[in-house]
């Protein structure tokens, strides 16, 4: 590598271009399928849409104005919020509970850990179809079991007051596996000396978990809250398969609403749907910003 300095300059510049060549394949994909669509989404959101789904010219912020005066969309936002709360925290709490028990040096840990991680293998479609069968009001297992306790047939997915709870329940189940893997990985990486010191000092059981272990795995829990929230906001398959957004729109979340406006029944209302998509993007970006900014400082990092 002994090159005269003048030549070295051009060589380095050539190297810089070569480096860009390595980035290029990924950049092309990002450009065509992420960044351009992002611009296009913004453009669509300020345009009207004719019956055939073609943009019908600039309409300014009319779509956004419609959004926030449309009572249906306000319901969508509320449903999305409720669905997120009903799924994120319970799925983390249950996974944390299981992980802490598994961490307590019991027999067959490997077996249990693998078994409890199985929901992670399920796709949204496979899990939803199984839950669809379980929720079936006429011959589903859930009502079958309840009948032994004298409970009449429950309309899990068609009762307007119940449907969101049912879909959320199925979603919690889908998330347990992933959450458990993350928390278990965090517990596995805890420093042995700290735990041992605490144990020798007489801390055990609940005390050990609350005062020593919990603070040490806050990074994992915080990570799960953020990732889980974003993941829940993007949920679609379980709603499409289990309730199609109903009954009476009580399970129509933001993403399902985008689908409904743009694609269901050949609606092709791309302008209005794109405005909703931009709301989704904004919410996700705000949560990401919160992750980087405010909340991260309160988390216990080693």
């Amino acid at each position: 590598m002994t090159v005269p300095t003048a030549v070295a300059g051009t060589a380095r510049r050539k190297g810089a271009w070569a480096a860009l060549v390595y980035l290029l394949p990924a950049l092309v994909v990002f450009g065509v399928f992420i960044f351009w669509p992002l611009v296009k989404s913004m453009l669509l959101s300020v345009q009207g849409t004719d019956i055939l789904g073609n943009p019908s010219g600039y309409v300014g912020f009319v779509n956004y104005g419609t959004l926030f005066t449309d009572p249906e969309f306000l319901t969508v936002l509320w449903v999305t919020f409720a669905f997120t709360i009903l799924t994120v925290l319970p799925s983390i709490a249950i996974a944390l509970f299981i992980a802490l028990i598994l961490h307590g040096r019991i027999r067959g840990v490997r077996f249990f850990r693998t078994a409890f991680a199985l929901p992670f293998a399920f796709s949204v479609a496979t899990a939803s179809v199984i839950f669809g069968v379980l929720f079936n009001p006429a011959s589903g297992v859930l009502n079958g079991i309840l009948s032994h306790f004298g409970v009449g047939k429950v309309a899990w997915l068609t009762n307007p007051d119940l449907a969101l709870w049912s879909v959320s329940g199925a979603t919690v189940w889908m998330q347990i596996g992933y959450n458990l893997l993350v928390i278990s990985a965090g517990l596995g990486a805890l420093p042995d000396d700290v735990l041992e010191a605490a144990r020798l000092d007489g801390a055990s059981g609940f005390r050990l978990q609350r005062s020593i272990i919990m603070p040490l795995i806050t990074p994992q829990l915080f990570f799960l809250v953020v990732v889980g929230t974003i993941h829940s906001l993007q949920s679609f398959g379980q709603i499409k398969i289990l309730t199609v957004g109903g009954p009476e729109g009580r399970t129509t979340t933001l993403v399902y609403s985008i689908y409904e406006q743009a694609f269901a029944n050949n609606n092709s209302n791309y302008g209005y749907a794109s405005a909703q998509a931009m709301v989704l993007l904004l919410i996700v970006l705000i949560i990401t910003a919160l992750q980087f900014g405010v909340l991260e400082r309160r988390v216990f990092y080693r």
Binding site: I101, I130, S139, G144, G177, L200
Partner: protein, 295 residues
Amino acid sequence: MTSTLDTSTSTEPQEASPPPKRPRRSRRNLGSYLILGVLFVIVLFPVYYGLVGSLMGERDTNSFPPALWPVHGLHPENYGDALDIIPLGNQYLTSVLQTLGIMVGQLVTSVLAAYAFVFLPLRWRGFWFAVFLSTMMIPFESIIIPNYLLISTWGLKDTIAGLTLPFLATGFGTFLLRQSFLSFPTELRDAARVDGAGHFRFLFSILVPLSRPSLAALGIWSALSAWNMYFWPLLATEDPKHQTIQIGISQLQSSDGDSPGMVLAGVMLALFPTLLLVIFGQRFIVRGLTAGAVK
């Protein structure tokens, strides 16, 4: 942290007395086993019922209350029925090709990009880094409409290209590999350079073979997410022959609600590959768990 430091100084005298703790632990364990057992039954029930239900006949599944195990014999023909009703064979092939395409694509683009980030004199590194990072913050659902319009106008609906193209690169994968490349010993890098290995040679005959665990982690994550995709394949395909298995089984349900056994058989077929991945590839999955921490 200070409290734990304080306590650790006062531990030595007690070090010789662990035996008395034994009984307490085992009593606690009994309670733990009990709770664990209950949770085990609840969490694993859908898995159990998916598998057992796929082998049950209509006499078991359609009576009320439905049977919880095959009382009236096993019905493996459910699997044949599922394969007959929808073009499941075609759909399986489509899913396999889509998964392989996305996996290989992501591995190639991520290896190249991560290499540039770690080993090459990249100009505006910070800028490009931010570009890759930003791709992880944009939910695909928020840009799915333009993607759909793009694939439609290019005439790529119902094709493998339409199913795979938008996902051939990943910020997550790039950062996962970058992390692994960063810990690559510089001595090896320098030795290779002295021996006259160019970038390409070094990348493919030294770095890639030595980074197999990370590549396996990325491969498994790509495969899992590609195989399990639902929203995009629902939009990018119309013809049942070209749909993926995920879409196929979800329509199996609506087309034949009266035969849960057959529906569940379809589910099991779709589930089989990912179940194997999760059982035998857990080590690699855990590796990639938090690499997407920015998502």
